[in-house]
């Protein structure tokens, strides 16, 4: 009888062997064409953003103007045309990628670092601590995010760092909530109980047991958060509260091109398209990651 179990070949065994989480996620992720499109787009945008930093000189290509070249419609020399100061729009759109990416990524890093930590603590300890933390988050949830962003920008002045902080703070509560609800089901698991009994410190339990098991929703939130962060930041810039000119932040470009929309609509369309594609790429990646991390949710 015993030899019968050997009927499973080694190959089959390998197939069933548990892959590492990352490999597993990647295996699922690459199956989705839309998710791959998102990933490729993000890679392209990052590569273009870096290339633009290397190719263009801020003081020359971004700051300097040539009023004799203003409002040239898109042509072979200026693929995206020139703006009201005679600056090449393509150059500016490419150079501007770094602002959106930086704001999106850093602000999410901020909101995730603060929010997820608060959420983990709230979810893990429960009780009064949870109540205090979650009510604290309610404060930020209650204020419409754009208004909160505007208030923070007004308070601390216009700059890239403040913009990152503002967007980060706006979305902090969302992370706290996600992290907390991800921890709740994990909190009562027996292995956590076992670790506690074994005398493992709370910090260690949180980081080595709770966090890894509630990571999936946080990872998804991060990707979606980047998309949202880029949108919010570009809106703040659109209102004139973002990165100061002449930095070619896309929202600010849209805003300054807006008064010329009737005759030179390309001034608003190219930055608008750039924002949309970037946000779309992160949304696609977020969708893909969600499906890959939790095949049960796959739709």
């Amino acid at each position: 009888m015993e030899e019968n179990t050997n009927r499973i070949s080694l190959d089959e065994y390998k197939k069933y062997k548990k892959r590492s989480l990352a490999a597993d996620v990647w295996h699922n992720y690459k199956k989705s064409p839309s998710a791959m499109v998102g990933l490729i787009l993000i890679v392209i945008i990052i590569v273009l953003a870096i290339a633009a930093q290397l190719i263009y000189d801020y003081e020359v290509d971004i700051v300097q103007q040539d009023l004799s070249q203003r409002f040239i419609a898109p042509n072979t020399e200026h693929l995206f045309g020139t703006d009201q100061y005679g600056r090449d729009v393509l150059t500016r759109v490419l150079y501007g990628a770094k602002y959106s990416l930086a704001v999106g990524i850093v602000s999410v890093a901020i909101s995730c670092a603060i929010g997820a930590t608060l959420g983990l603590i709230a979810g893990y300890y429960g009780g009064v601590i949870e109540n205090v933390i979650m009510r604290f988050c309610d404060i930020f949830m209650g204020i419409p995010s754009v208004l909160l962003g505007i208030a923070i920008m007004s308070a601390f002045g216009q700059s890239l760092i403040v913009l990152m902080l503002a967007v980060g703070l706006v979305y902090m509560s969302a992370f706290a909530r996600t992290a907390r609800s991800a921890v709740l089901p994990v909190r009562d698991q027996e292995y956590i109980e076992a670790a506690k009994v074994a005398g493992v410190s709370d910090l260690k339990i949180i980081f080595s047991h709770v966090l890894p098991n509630s990571l999936s929703p946080i990872i998804v939130q991060v990707t979606m958060g980047v998309a949202n962060g880029i949108l919010t930041a570009s809106f703040l810039s659109f209102l004139g509260l973002g990165v100061p000119v002449p930095a070619p932040e896309w929202g600010a470009m849209l805003s300054s091109g807006r008064q010329y929309i009737r005759d030179y609509s390309y001034l608003t369309n190219f930055p608008g398209l750039a924002i949309m594609i970037t946000v779309l790429a992160f949304n696609l990646m977020g969708d893909g990651l969600r499906d890959a991390l939790d095949p049960k949710l796959k739709q």
Binding site: M1, N4, R7, I8
Partner: protein, 336 residues
Amino acid sequence: MSQTENTKDLVLDLKNLQVRFETEDGICYAVNGLDLEIERGKALGLVGETGAGKTTTALSLLRLVPDPPGVVECEKMVINGHDMLNISIKELEKIRGKDISMIFQDPMTALNPVFTVGDQIAESIMLHEDVSMADAQRKAIDMLELVGIPGERAGEYPHEFSGGMKQRVVIAIALACHPQLLIADEPTTALDVTIQAQVLDLMRNLRQQYQTSLIMITHDLGIVAEVCDDVAVMYGGNIVEQGTLEDVFNHTMHPYTEGLFNSLPNINDRKAKLTPIRGLMLDPMDMPPGCPFAPRCPYYDEKCDLPQEKKYVTETHAIRCCAYERPGFHIERKER
């Protein structure tokens, strides 16, 4: 089963049922050329391990196999005189719940959480009987009491009921319009033993009361022995052995059926080791051309790799196994 089937009063006449699921990862062959007949008032036990295609067979009778990915092909499917293959959706909807109905496996998920149980039973009655809403509600309460639930609980939601109670509700829904053919898909697996007995009792009584034919899907041979007249054993999407209770239980012929019985614990000899059927469950994506049980069969030879014909051993007892073509072949069922 005899050749004079046309004269019999058949509630179900099914020929060559094939169901496959076409998924991204490949085609899954769930049911492969299955034939089934049930006489009015009889109870058939459909036995087999998980994945044998029992539930899929049941769902295809109701034409509820999800499409896509499911593809159902069939030569003949007549239920209570209705040709299920050539009827409109509208007629089909009239037949479902009225001529044929089904008790689903998991009572925890089979009930809609946002409607009261009374409404869920009444809905069935409203659909098939020409009654007012109030009458339907009254009948629903009657049905609840019939399955042993106080009528005043009709206004409660499923989450307020225990598992066993929910199963009774599911049964009440299935029986609400007194169907001619009832399919019970493992109605007792989710329940504990005492409740199991109650539910089985209940079903037996109701069946007698309404002359309902029954297909009892289960992997519990004990339940089959208790409830059924006939037994069909399924493996790999087809019936491998079929006959009366007596035929299959006492004159077991198919090696798989033998394996099933051998893997039961022996009450008389508690020290005896359990003898599981060796090998793994068949991968329905990768169906062998011949006998599906061949890779696990202790009596395997090359002929098993050819398609297997259904053969009648006696008038009521049929098997799909070529081993009996070998001279002097017999299986070695352990005695209990």
